[in-house]
């Protein structure tokens, strides 16, 4: 097994006795120890817990118990997801004073029930209000393809750890693009499911109206198995519907008959050449010639921005009052500004959300999936404060999620797929499907993976 072996291949090898969970976990822990100083992806490593769990998986296999679909596969979670016995810091300094989590988050429990083995918690932008991967408390997370560049955020460690081959599977959260942006910058697959699909219980919130959890992986099969293992109802998340639609039986159904179009207008304006070349190459691989205009995207992005800024500010108001110096300054200053937005704009934004949903769903009468860039450019340099989009110099931090924000605003399922570029850095393309139709995005991602149009790279570290 190499450092780049995918989770499903690893699980099959472990189940077949070609290797053991113990050997897999030891190799994983060694790689983390070796590479984490370069990438700063992990903030906690649960080595002892992982070793105990690996022994249990090996014992189950030896005694003939059926191994789960992820038997012995290491995974790690963004540090806003609860791990029993560890404080859920959510990228902050402030939360370090909070008591350790009493139990694992349900998604961690479900992955371990499928045989996966948790090896640690991952770096992230403070309180998930970040697209860069920079963090004033834990240090900046680094891109495995060029450690001078951003990982993207806020699921920075989730992207870097998978992109660097430290673990095959991670979990992240996505409020406005925080799974899809790191997937794009680190060259991995990322799934933001339909809003309400996966439980968010046991995770530190950011913007309840928009928060999602989901996986990042190095293959579509890993993404599908992980996703299937995590579906299910949870009364502790009022948003989670409990709708279960397993993907694995449909994964290889092909894409014959699917109508795929590229998003035009807003989603092309401002994109760098690499983003457009990637989008066009994916569209060509799918024979997708049609272009659709998603209506009112500018308003949608503004509405998502307003809801994020105000809900985030309201959530953190007690901490902004009591310990403002303990925030990451880049996050604190945005939260303070968000508190000052007029309330009428928030209600109007929520009204527009319903209207926009109706308008976008109407588009799906004529297409089954829409392609759009995941990010306007490849990963910027760490510390870069501005970039030029559509001829205008703009701050990096609020604008990297330009193309992801209008999609998560109405909870559509999206898979970000990795595309190599001529300049050596990867970039992602979003495959956007109608609500509850993750299967469409998965079938397209799978077809692209099989054709070689999308793939993860193996950076030299």
């Amino acid at each position: 097994m190499s450092d780049w072996t995918t989770g499903t291949v690893l699980a099959a090898a472990i189940a077949a006795g070609q290797t053991t969970a113990k050997a897999t976990i030891e190799a994983c822990l060694t790689r983390i120890e070796t590479l984490n100083p370069k990438l700063n992806a992990f903030t906690a490593v649960t080595a002892e817990r992982a070793r105990i769990r690996a022994a249990a998986v090996d014992a189950d296999i030896a005694s003939g118990l059926p191994p789960g679909p992820l038997a012995g596969v290491p995974f790690a979670v963004k540090n806003l997801i609860d791990i029993a016995g560890i404080t859920t810091v959510a990228g902050s300094k402030i939360n370090r004073t909070y008591p350790p989590a009493a139990s694992d988050a349900p998604l961690v429990q479900r992955l371990e029930a499928a045989g996966a083995i948790l090896v640690g918690a991952l770096n992230m932008g403070e309180y998930a209000y970040d697209f860069t991967g920079e963090n004033a408390h834990d240090g900046n997370c680094r891109n495995p393809h060029d450690t001078a560049r951003m990982t993207g955020g806020s699921s920075s460690g989730s992207g870097s750890a998978v992109g660097g081959g430290l673990v095959p599977i991670t979990l992240g959260s996505d409020t406005n693009g925080s799974i899809r942006v790191p997937a794009s910058f680190n060259g991995v697959f990322g799934l933001k499911p339909t809003y309400g699909r996966l439980t968010r219980a046991g995770s530190f919130p950011f913007v309840s109206s928009l928060d999602h959890l989901g996986p990042l992986c190095r293959s579509v099969s890993d993404l599908a198995v992980t996703y299937d293992a995590m579906q299910g109802a949870d009364p502790n998340d009022p948003v989670c519907t409990g709708q279960i639609d397993p993907i694995m039986p449909l994964l290889d159904n092909g894409i014959a008959g699917l109508r795929v179009a590229k998003a035009g207008g807003f989603f092309r304006a401002g994109a760098a050449a690499e983003a457009l070349i990637a989008l066009d190459s994916i569209a060509a691989a799918l024979g997708a010639e049609a272009e659709v205009e998603i209506p009112d995207t500018t308003i949608a992005r503004s509405a998502a921005y307003i809801i994020t800024a105000t809900e985030g500010a309201a959530l953190h108001l007690p901490r902004l009052r009591s310990c403002p110096d303990d925030f990451d300054p880049d996050v604190r200053d945005r939260l303070l500004a968000g508190a000052l937005i007029p309330a009428a704009a928030v209600t109007q934004a929520q009204k527009f959300r319903r209207l926009y949903r109706q308008r976008v769903l109407a588009l799906f009468d004529s297409v089954d999936a829409i392609l759009a860039p995941a990010t306007p450019c490849v990963a910027p340099k760490i510390g870069q404060r501005t970039f030029v989009l559509d001829g205008t110099e703009m701050p990096v931090r609020p604008n990297i999620g330009l193309y992801t924000q209008p999609i998560s605003f109405i909870g559509l399922p999206v898979i970000a797929v990795p595309v190599p570029t001529a300049i050596g850095m990867p970039i992602g393309v979003q495959i956007i499907a109608p609500p509850w139709r993750e299967d469409i995005a998965f079938r397209i991602a799978r077809a692209l993976e099989v054709s070689g149009a999308v793939r993860t790279l193996t950076p030299k570290l």
């Binding site: 309840s208 109206s209 009022p238 948003v239 009112d296 500018t298 308003i299 992005r301 503004s302 509405a303 921005y305 307003i306 800024a309 108001l317 902004l320 009052r321 403002p324 300054p329 880049d330 604190r332 200053d333 945005r334 303070l336 500004a337 968000g338 508190a339 000052l340 937005i341 007029p342 009428a344 704009a345 209600t347 109007q348 934004a349 929520q350 009204k351 527009f352 959300r353 319903r354 209207l355 949903r357 701050p395 609020p398």
Partner: protein, 60 residues
């Protein structure tokens, strides 16, 4: 909004909410506030029927 008006909004907001905006934070807060107010203007200018329900998270 001009610079003076932004300062006034920050000052009154800080008073209402009971937080402090230190002098060396003010420029960044002002920059983000300007971006936020621009987005608010876009949203408030959208034509939306009186009969459209807001879509926050709630199920009775």
């Amino acid at each position: 909004m001009d610079d003076k008006e932004l300062d006034a909004l920050i000052d009154i907001g800080a008073k209402i909410y009971g937080f402090n905006v230190k002098p060396d934070w003010r420029a960044a807060v002002k920059m983000h506030l300007t971006i936020c107010l621009g987005h608010a203007e876009t949203v408030l200018a959208a034509a939306i029927s009186d009969h459209v329900d807001p879509a926050p998270v709630f199920r009775a």
